[in-house]
């Protein structure tokens, strides 16, 4: 079995540092001078009502959008200056999961592997089965239910060696079994020294010991 574990950092430095980030969308200031940091092995949940800017914050942290002011540092280096190296250590799953509905689940996962620089397809079938998609690996994804389509994207969580996971509502459309599987996978990742940043409406306090929370308010 191929080892997907990431390389651990021995010093306890902050993996992700956000310095005084301001976001203005359509002339509405979503958040201003926001600063926080996320250490190795830690998980942070971003909470807030709809429209508070959670998704915008995640997109700024992943490098898709530029903040009005401020900067984001990954391992003490600005993500804009070293984006390729940051991207190699980042796993992002957003609202739009990047799963093409005309391809099969197997093709989707393999394509994702290649685009992110991995070339080992040997475990894909096994993992698709583990996530409840036995027998559905080779049909077009459009024939699957919403929850099943989500799981095709979530397979990536078992197949990458990125340190930082940024997930936007990962538990959407999952049943209890799926939620439990995901939470145990999160714990595995944290134990290996990885970090997770996510938004969710689920209550995570019972499952993760060192859960940090960031609450964004709806500003008018």
């Amino acid at each position: 079995m191929v080892d997907y574990r990431p390389i651990l950092r021995t010093e306890n430095t902050n993996l992700l540092e956000v310095k005084s980030v301001t976001c203005v969308k359509q002339e509405r200031c979503l958040f201003e001078a926001l600063s926080f940091s996320l250490g190795s092995g830690k998980i942070m949940q971003i909470e807030g009502p709809n429209g508070a800017g959670k998704t915008s914050l995640l997109r700024i942290l992943s490098g898709f959008a530029q903040p009005e002011e401020g900067e984001v540092l990954f391992e003490q280096r600005s993500i804009n200056d070293y984006y390729d190296e940051f991207a190699a250590q980042l796993l992002f799953i957003g609202h739009k999961t990047g799963v093409n509905t005309q391809l099969t689940a197997f093709e989707n996962v393999c394509h994702w592997l290649f685009v992110h620089g991995y070339n080992d397809e040997s475990q894909v079938y096994e993992l698709l089965g583990k996530l409840g998609l036995v027998g559905l690996e080779d049909v077009p994804v459009r024939t699957l239910s919403a929850g099943q389509q989500r799981r095709v994207a979530l397979v990536r969580l078992w197949l990458n060696s990125a340190k930082l996971w940024i997930l936007d509502e990962p538990f959407t459309a999952l049943d209890k079994k799926g939620v439990a599987m995901l939470q145990s996978r999160f714990n595995e990742h944290l134990e290996l020294g990885g970090s997770i940043l996510l938004t969710t409406h689920q209550d995570l306090t019972q499952h993760f010991e060192q859960l940090q929370t960031l609450v964004l308010e709806y500003r008018h």
Binding site: V24, K25, Q26, E27, C29, Q66
Partner: protein, 245 residues
């Protein structure tokens, strides 16, 4: 060396800079346009071939030159905006665009107006006019792209990319249209020949060019001020400016 430019990356300094420059531009524009138009349209000697109808070159040539000058300025601002991530330069691109488009339209209309007495047709597909027409399309493209975006930050960046792509293509388009024109020379050879111009006509032409350049500058500066205010309206310095009246 460029350190003295750094403060102008901030919107309020840029706004003040526009305010300081505006009076000079207005003075140059008014003086040059008045002198240039009066001299050119009234006092310069009549052309021996075309009589008085040639006088339209005092409007056509400056507007054509400025249409290309404005596009180049727009492109330079776009490069500055993208390379150094300066918001004000993005605003400058959008400030200049409509002015440049208007100059291009004036060049086309005056070109057609000149064409009628000279060759009897309102429109001829000669190299210069065709290039101007394509330039108009490029301007309108930048403007429609900007206005199609809801998020104005993304709109500004997209407009900058398109302006740069346009400016790279501009010499290629110009060259290919010139070449196409030589291929398809019809019986009438159409050239806006201003090379063998008498000095008595050259001076008013230069003054008009300077006047038009000043005009483009004035309108662009006013538009830039407006765009800055629009973009920064949630800031305290804008609110204090508004409350002061």
């Amino acid at each position: 060396m460029w350190k003295w430019l750094h403060p102008y990356a901030k919107a309020d300094r840029a706004y003040q800079l526009c305010n300081t420059l505006l009076p000079y531009f207005i003075v140059i524009t008014v003086v040059c346009l008045v002198v240039g138009w009066v001299w050119g349209l009234a006092f310069a000697p009549a052309d021996y071939q075309q009589k008085d109808s040639y006088r339209i070159i005092f409007i056509h040539v400056p507007s054509a030159i400025l249409s290309m000058g404005a596009y180049s300025s727009m492109a330079i601002a776009a490069i500055v905006a993208l390379v150094w991530q300066l918001r004000n330069a993005e605003l400058a691109v959008i400030a200049i665009a409509p002015v440049g488009a208007a100059m291009t339209a004036i060049a086309l209309i005056t070109g057609a107006a000149w064409g009628k007495p000279m060759w009897g047709a309102w429109w001829v597909w000669d190299a210069r006019l065709t290039s101007e027409l394509i330039l108009l399309f490029l301007y309108l493209g930048v403007l429609s792209l900007y206005h199609a975006f809801e998020d104005k930050k993304a709109a500004g960046k997209a407009a900058c990319i398109l302006a740069i792509v346009g400016v790279i293509n501009l010499p290629i388009i110009h060259f290919s249209v010139e070449w196409w024109n030589t291929l398809h020379q019809g019986a009438t050879i159409t050239k806006f020949d201003t090379s063998a111009i008498d000095p008595s006509m050259l001076w008013p032409l230069f003054i008009n060019i300077a006047g038009f350049a000043g005009f483009v500058g004035v309108i662009s500066l006013i538009r830039l001020k407006n765009e800055i205010l629009q973009r920064e309206k949630h800031r305290p310095w804008v609110r204090s400016l508004v409350s002061r009246g």
